[in-house]
């Protein structure tokens, strides 16, 4: 008799045991509110130009504009495009050439079409006294959309005039601060 009662007793007990456990007072919809907001500091490009880079000794002619191009493939990566809310660029020039410079940054997409442009004027320095010019550029909104379709940048440095005896260096250091907001993507 005892055995007959025990089977259902145990069965019910086990059932209660398993069924009564639950997850309470929780709200998993909050997962949609999870936002990661990392702020990433990353070096960008740098160069060190000599004054004589602006003069062609072989042909005895000025080279008033020198330019170079590099790919920056990470910019148009999907992770960047979806999550980047703001980018802040810092360009730090150290100039010991006694000339002002115009420095342009033309961003291009993969079809080499221009997307985003920025540029600045660099103050002249002297060989004895290197002058630092800092230029910051904040990019957000529509400009950011343009920027994040870019995968390369053309840097052009223009000097008003030069000659065989011009001395000094123009150095650039640069970095970008990327402000991300990473959240669940809409399906």
């Amino acid at each position: 008799m005892k055995n007959n009662l025990l089977v259902p007793f145990l069965g019910i007990l086990s059932f209660i045991f398993i069924a009564s456990s639950c997850v309470k007072d929780t709200d998993f919809d909050q997962a949609q509110d999870i936002v990661l907001t990392p702020v990433v500091e990353l070096n960008l490009i740098h160069f060190d130009l000599e004054a004589q880079d602006f003069y062609d000794g072989a042909t005895m002619t000025e080279r008033l504009t020198v330019s170079d191009t590099t790919e920056i493939k990470f910019l148009d990566g999907s992770g960047f495009q979806e999550s980047l809310v703001r980018a802040e660029f810092l360009f730090r020039f150290k100039n010991s050439i006694p000339r002002n410079f115009n420095v342009d940054f033309q961003f291009l997409d993969s079809l080499r079409q221009p997307t985003y442009f920025t540029g600045t004027l660099v103050n002249q320095g002297s060989v004895a006294n290197e002058v630092t010019t800092e230029f910051t550029q904040n990019v957000e909104g529509e400009d950011l959309l343009l920027l994040t379709t870019s995968d390369r940048v053309v840097v052009s440095v223009t000097i008003p005039d030069s000659g065989p005896n011009l001395e000094g260096n123009l150095k650039l250091q640069s970095k970008a601060t990327y402000f991300f907001e990473i959240k669940e993507q809409e399906e």
């Binding site: 639950c22 929780t26 740098h46 160069f47 880079d53 590099t70 250091q173 601060t177």
Partner: protein, 468 residues
């Protein structure tokens, strides 16, 4: 994200301290206690587990954080709670999960009084430590951490899925001493391991001589991942291949369990066991990756080569990628490796009291002390398991009572890395030849599993034939 939460919850729902079956240990009414101590006292004459139903064990746990901590209804923003938890958790915190399913289990007492037992079970075992520095880096970025090193060596994880074939022998050697051994053959379906990693990542402010604003440096990196049974999964077969390797198609290993029970006095008994003292030899389908080196990223240096219009300049970006791969090469190795199984230790001391059982109530005077059983016991148990970052331990106090001839219960109180208020309960019913058991812990959290750091459950049915 939702799927991740679901999987995470599924683990938590169904399931202590991974692999610590403190409720079942020493519970001789359950034949599966032989798997926790091959030297346990075996009262029955023979047993046979109902195939696939003789033991189901699942266990998942996380130290330092519960589901409720993150997803509980609260006026505090979920992101604030996540951030606080990331900073509160340590690199020694971990998430671990173990699941076992017994396929076959049987045992019988031979004429020489040796109790032989054997069987097959499947085991899934996973642990991952919380890589705190990387979590902070991912969550916050490096802006507020210029000059602060991030430890990449905190990455530590192992995972295994295997079939275990075992056979053991148990014998009462004297009135006081029972000993047992069990040989195990492991057939690994898949295995991965990334432990003993080293290295730091640091972003420093550049100085006068620096080429750029910052120096992003990966220093003294030495990180590796060993895998077996995984590399070929993508190629062919998939599920059928995994099933194939469940039965000796994969990598094999050998192991040993040993254990003993010693009756100090009539009422005091001690026992101890060492489980899974073994190795798996990974020789087939092995793929290991190792990344090592030091590299500083300065950014892209433009050289302004004197080129005419339309001519391509240097491939700076590719050069940078190549440079990185050269300085921090990732080697792929196919050489085999030997994996130690996580060794488990159990020990206990118990004191029995209460009325005598096991006799018919009439004169028990012929029983000269070797088999006096009482209906109640209290005891202490110790459990330890070797893990990538050292031994993890747990201590249990228990109370055992035989309620009726057919029903026994054991209540446990366990202190382990997960919590210090873990109460467990096990019930064993012997209904004729049918042996039914269920054991679960963290009962104080059962009302709301979301608040539990870990939960474990074992249940099963056996056919047990008692001694005449």
């Amino acid at each position: 994200m939702k799927y991740l939460i679901f999987i995470f919850m599924a683990f938590l729902f169904c399931s202590a301290f991974a692999q610590n079956k403190q409720v079942l240990y020493g519970l001789e009414e359950v034949p599966q206690s032989l798997l926790l101590n091959p030297g346990v006292n075996v009262p029955q004459k023979s047993h046979f587990g109902i195939p696939l139903f003789s033991q189901f064990h699942i266990n998942a746990g996380m130290t330092g954080v519960s589901v409720f901590d993150i997803f509980g209804e609260s006026s505090v923003d979920i992101n604030t709670r996540i951030r606080n938890k990331i900073f509160e958790l340590e690199a020694s915190d971990f998430f671990s999960a173990t699941q076992q399913l017994e396929i076959i289990n049987f045992g019988w007492r031979a004429r020489n009084e040796i109790y032989f037992s054997g069987g097959v079970y499947e085991e899934l075992d996973f642990i991952v430590y919380f890589p705190k520095d990387l979590a902070v880096l991912a969550y916050e970025g490096n802006q507020d951490y210029i000059g602060v090193p991030f430890d990449l060596g905190q990455i530590s994880t192992t995972g295994d899925l295997m079939t275990v074939f075992h056979f053991g022998a148990n014998k009462q050697l004297s009135e006081k001493l029972t000993m047992g051994v069990r040989a195990k053959l492991y057939s690994s379906l898949f295995s991965f391991k990334s432990t003993n990693n080293e290295g730091t990542f640091i972003t420093r402010e550049g100085n006068e001589d620096s080429e750029n604003v910052y120096e992003h440096t990966v220093e003294n990196l030495d990180a590796s991942v060993q895998t077996s049974g995984i590399a070929s999964l993508g190629d062919t077969g998939g599920a059928s291949q995994i099933l194939g390797s469940a039965f000796f198609g994969g990598n094999v290993g050998v192991g040993l369990d040993v254990g003993a029970t010693y009756k100090v006095t009539e009422k005091i008994t001690t026992s101890a066991s060492i489980l899974d003292l073994g190795v798996i030899f990974h020789t087939k389908d092995v793929e290991s990756y190792r990344a090592s080196g030091t590299y500083t990223l300065d950014g892209i240096e433009l050289l302004f080569p004197p080129i005419t219009q339309g001519e391509p300049t240097f491939p700076y970006y590719e050069d940078l990628e190549d440079e990185f791969e050269r300085e921090i090469p990732i080697d792929t190795l196919n050489s085999g490796y030997t994996q130690l199984r996580p060794v488990k230790l159990n020990a206990s001391v118990s004191y029995t009291f209460g009325r005598r059982i096991g006799s018919s109530g009439v004169c028990d005077c012929l029983n000269m002390g070797d088999d006096v059983k009482r209906n109640q016991a209290v005891g202490l148990q110790f459990y330890g398991i070797s893990r990538p970052k050292g031994l993890q331990m747990a201590g249990t106090f228990y109370y055992y009572r035989r309620l009726w001839d057919v029903l026994s219960a054991k209540v446990t109180y366990t202190v382990d890395p997960y919590s210090n208020d873990n109460v467990g309960l096990g019930l064993v019913a012997d209904l004729g030849k049918l042996n039914f058991y269920i054991a679960a812990d963290n009962l104080l959290r059962y009302g709301n599993l979301a608040k539990a750091n870990n939960v474990s459950l074992q249940l099963g049915i056996n056919i047990k034939i008692e001694n005449e």
